[in-house]
């Protein structure tokens, strides 16, 4: 089997022209027992290659900033970028009592040719004015699209002026689509700004702070994931101050520094801010995985260990037991339908790792996995961070340096105790996806159209978890493909009840009767010769 995987990879690479082969070879590896090799990631996609990747704007406005519910998010540019990020990503949200949500709206300056020629600054300022007067939002964001950077519109100056004039925060993001090599650059740009201008601006007085306060970072409430996670956390006794950024209000993020622990779900999109918050405000972060029963349970146990309270630990165990009791029969039913089948995962920057555990729980092995826009540390773990060479594309993204905020910095526990805990639970640590994968599985970065087709043919998985762009390609090949960005409009998939939803949908996807009809009967069964002569001839005439 071992040889097979390497052979499969070589056979596919061999079909490429030399230059492309050289490039792609570095992005694919087969896990071997001797320890992980280096994988190339977060580098440019070759022009012409049919990639799934998007742009910095998509990562900034689309992923990180867009889900903040009570802000008016103005896209400064021609109409398209705003339009495509309008309500399509399933980051759910609900207005708080007396509050607002703008999630079903799209706002744009809809730049026209004359704006490109003469500059779009005046139009942007006017658009902000109109947004304030009509909608009275808590805050406004401005996201730059490609041409804005080229024509030199100073969106930061406009934002500053508007902020002074209207007395509400106006955040400008220079997330032009050409920056970086994928959505990832946009996450970084969004993190920097939230850190600079939002986190830490609203204190919770000491007497109002609650025990076991946490933030959930890198959780965007796709299909209601955050609500399901929060349901369980609240049941155990945690208070979630801020989620970045699923169903978040601006004010939640401003208060985030008051929590006692940051939980990092999507490492790729949000690790920057987790690190910076620790340096500035003293609250550590811990890697969690809320997908799958065992992963979720372990994350809850680690959280309890962090707070070190016997009663909390006991309550955690009780809740885990209760929740599992509720779902186990149903999960087992779906496991019966899925066990022994194989899966391929190609998703963003964390789900390709997170879902492997849940798939295993329903009896499915992941034979290949990769990230669309992950970095080396998402594959190989954070230990390699000092050794990552920054190329020109990454260096163009601002690396924000923060300092300890002497007034607000607060140690949550003694450094010695924290060091002790680090030995036991993943505080400030992420071991990466490769660590959890079996030997002789394939790890692939920035999987493209050609490789998708080839690997599906070679590996014949029962399940391909990816996005909308390759879903229907794979399904035409007779293989169930599930959108892991939008959950095929289902969900939640996180937490205990989410695991059941995922198992149910996966079992349905693999077993839906439609697959059995792909080959028509006349291609499967011989047609009686006599019958053809009798009736067929007449018809032919």
């Amino acid at each position: 089997m071992k040889d097979d995987m390497n052979k499969i990879v070589d056979r596919i690479l061999f079909r490429y022209p030399a230059k492309v082969m050289k490039n792609r070879k570095e992005h694919i590896l087969v896990k071997e027992p001797e320890g992980p090799k280096e994988i190339s990631a977060n580098t440019r996609t070759l022009p012409g290659i049919i990639t799934n990747r998007g742009c910095a704007y998509a990562g900034c406005k689309g992923v990180v900033i867009g889900p903040i519910i009570d802000m008016v998010h103005i896209t400064h540019g021609p109409v398209g970028c705003s339009y495509y990020t309008w309500a399509a990503r399933r980051n759910k949200g609900k207005a708080r009592e007396g509050g607002k949500s703008f999630l079903e709206y799209a706002f744009t300056t809809d730049l026209q040719e004359s704006d490109i020629v003469f500059g779009g600054i005046k139009k942007l300022a006017q658009a902000i004015k109109e947004a304030v007067e009509i909608f009275h939002p808590k805050a406004i964001s401005i996201a730059a699209t490609c041409p804005v950077g080229l024509i030199g519109d100073d969106i930061h100056a406009v934002a500053k002026k508007a902020q002074e004039e209207y007395g509400i925060p106006v955040l400008a993001f220079s997330c032009e689509g050409y920056k970086g090599v994928s959505q990832s650059a946009g996450h970084h740009i969004a993190n920097n700004k939230l850190m600079k201008d939002v986190v830490g601006t609203e204190d919770i007085p000491e007497n109002q702070r609650k025990k076991y306060s946490v933030n959930i970072l890198g959780e965007y409430n796709i299909g209601g994931d955050e609500w399901e996670i929060k349901r369980v956390l609240n049941k155990i006794g945690y208070t979630v101050i801020a989620t970045l950024t699923g169903d978040a209000e601006y004010g939640d993020i401003a208060k985030a520094h008051n929590a006692d622990l940051n939980l990092v779900q999507c490492h790729r999109s949000i690790n920057y801010i987790a690190d910076m918050i620790e340096i500035k405000y003293g609250l550590p972060w811990m890697k969690v995985n809320f997908i799958g029963i065992e992963n979720f349970s372990n994350s809850l146990r680690n959280m309890a260990k962090y707070f070190g309270d016997a009663e909390l630990m006991e309550r955690t165990e009780r809740v885990i037991q209760e929740e599992i009791e509720d779902i186990k029969d149903e999960i087992n039913r779906y496991k019966e339908m899925c066990k022994g089948k194989t899966a391929v995962l190609f998703v963003g920057g964390s789900r390709a790792h997170h879902y492997q555990g849940l798939l295993k729980e329903i009896g499915m092995e992941t034979v290949m996995a990769g990230y669309e826009f992950g970095h080396r540390d998402d594959y190989e773990g954070r230990d390699i961070l000092p050794y990552i060479k920054l190329d020109a594309d990454t260096r163009n993204i601002e690396e924000l340096t923060v300092e300890k905020d002497e007034r607000k910095y607060r140690l949550r526990m003694s450094p010695e105790k924290l060091e002790e805990l680090k030995k036991e639970i993943p505080i400030n640590q992420y071991k990466g996806m490769i660590h959890d994968m079996k030997d002789n599985t394939i790890i692939i970065d920035d999987l493209n159209h050609f490789e998708t087709e080839m690997f599906i043919k070679a590996l014949k998985p029962a399940f391909f978890g990816s996005g909308i762009k390759d879903k229907y390609i794979v399904e035409k090949m007779g293989v169930y493909s599930k959108q892991m960005h939008s959950y095929d409009y289902s969900g939640p998939y996180a937490g205990f009840r989410g695991a059941v939803n995922f198992a149910r949908d996966t079992a349905a996807g693999i077993h839906t009767p439609a697959w059995s009809y792909i080959v028509p009967p006349w291609k499967k069964e011989p047609i009686l010769k006599g019958k053809i002569e009798k009736e067929g001839v007449e018809e032919a005439c």
Partner: protein, 455 residues
């Protein structure tokens, strides 16, 4: 739902809220997919190509495959020449399309990349073709992009032979569904008119599941047919906004006479289409078609009581909306609000003419509008029915007005790729949808004592 939209309408000169259009390149990509063996290529940032593929995929639930020049910051400084040249080489080496149709983006347009120069200096494999269209996102809308790419097919490929015509009609269906294109072809075949349809996404974006993935499905107009366009005896362009430019280009380039008609949605526009076909070819109308028309009229008489006199708001793309407005009038409905996001005064004029000649005075029509404005109109004076794309579902829920989905995009229902809205049969389908939408609401909400078995 849409709770932040105030009833009071204040003038907005800069902020567009809930747009009723999107940008040019997606339209160009859709048109390019209507060429057989074509790989659309987006000359810009990766995000453009990704967004367009995603959105088209959501609408068609089919593979939408396209490549990109993957601009980085460096490409913006030095221009996108290297990215496009290398991109095209890679595309032909790996994906082996017959033809690549390049569209620009706001990025490459702002940089000022000269596509003609770049492509002519690129090593294109023998027998392969590259065409391009300038599709700046800051001009027009996705319909403009469709129009520009369709026109580019003529500009780059059509030619006229010395030795006479091909006896075929050139037909441009406009930004309509694969099912609509197939229906238009069926009508032409019924009458017996040989034709070249371009673009033609039927058989491309409604392809069967056979257990085998085919990167270039069987449908689409071929490059050879596009070259042969100059030998056609005439062009019928359906829709001013999506199709007219290509027809005039063909007239200018190869002296093929252009006939610009409405997209044949509804009885009147279909009648006009068929009359034009008959006049151009001196053919008889086939019995089958006349029977379909008769069935349509029969249905219009039978259930007019379901919708006659109802007020309707129609929004979406200009060519579709114009024809739909005309059909609504034919059904005895009252189009009260008619709106498109695409700019163009011809839209306002055409719709106004239709409504005025039907004696309707109390209406609003707007080009370059957005859905927030439409919603505010409705908040101030309600309608009974909405007809438009999926984005209308927010207004529909907020105001409890049923929505008949029509146009682009439809992201939350199926059927559009398979069942046409053009022609007489398409008109019957529209009636079915309108009637069902209105009656479903009534059945759900009427008092129990008014709940009826037969309607």
């Amino acid at each position: 739902m849409l709770n932040n939209t105030p009833k009071e309408i204040s003038e907005r000169s800069a902020l567009v809220v809930n747009p009723a259009k999107t940008c040019q390149p997606i339209g160009a990509m859709y048109a390019a997919l209507g060429i057989h063996g074509c790989l659309p290529h987006s000359h810009g940032s990766q995000g453009c190509c990704s967004f367009h593929r995603m959105h088209l995929t959501r609408h068609f639930r089919e593979p939408i495959v396209a490549s990109t020049s993957s601009f980085t910051e460096g490409a913006c400084v030095f221009g996108g020449k290297t990215n496009l040249k290398k991109g095209l080489e890679t595309v032909f080496e790996i994906y082996n399309p017959e033809i690549v149709a390049v569209n620009t983006t706001c990025l490459s347009e702002t940089i000022g990349d000269d596509l003609s120069e770049i492509i002519s200096s690129t090593n294109i494999p023998k027998g392969k073709t590259v065409i391009y269209a300038n599709t700046p996102s800051y001009v027009g809308s996705h319909i403009t992009g469709f129009s520009n790419m369709t026109k580019a097919m003529v500009t780059h490929l059509a030619s006229k032979d010395e030795n006479g015509g091909n006896n075929k009609l050139a037909i441009i269906p406009g930004f309509v569904e694969p099912s609509d294109m197939a229906e238009i072809k069926r009508i032409l075949k019924l009458i017996g008119i040989p034709f070249i349809m371009f673009p033609d996404t039927s058989g491309v974006l409604n392809s069967p599941n056979t257990g085998k993935y085919v990167m270039y499905p069987k449908g689409g107009v071929t490059v050879e047919e596009l070259k042969d366009l100059g030998n056609c005896f005439g062009t019928i362009a359906l829709g001013k906004f999506a199709s007219e430019a290509a027809a005039y280009e063909l007239e200018k380039k190869c002296e093929v006479e252009a006939h610009v008609l409405k997209v044949p949605i509804g009885i009147k526009a279909t009648d006009d289409f068929i009359m034009e076909l008959l006049q151009m070819t001196v053919k008889e109308v086939p019995k089958e078609l006349e029977e379909e028309r008769g069935q349509l009229v029969d249905l219009m008489v039978d259930i007019h009581n379901h919708y006659h006199g109802k007020k309707v708001a129609i929004f979406g793309d200009p060519d579709i909306v114009t024809s739909m407005t005309e059909f609504a009038v034919s059904l005895g409905m009252i189009p009260k609000y008619v709106l498109t996001g695409t700019p163009g005064s011809a839209f306002e004029k055409d719709v106004t003419d239709i409504l005025k000649s039907a004696g309707i005075e109390d209406f609003r029509v707007k080009a370059a509008g957005d859905l927030m404005e439409l919603h505010q109109w409705i908040k101030n004076d309600k309608v009974d029915l909405l007809i438009g794309n999926t984005y209308g579902k927010y207004i529909s829920r907020a105001e409890n007005i049923p929505l008949v989905r029509m146009g682009f995009p439809i992201l939350d229902r199926v059927g559009h790729s398979y069942f046409p809205v053009v022609g007489y049969k398409g008109a019957m389908r529209i009636i079915e949808k309108i009637s069902t939408a209105l009656l479903d609401k009534y059945d759900r909400e009427c008092p129990e004592e008014d709940f009826e078995l037969v309607m």
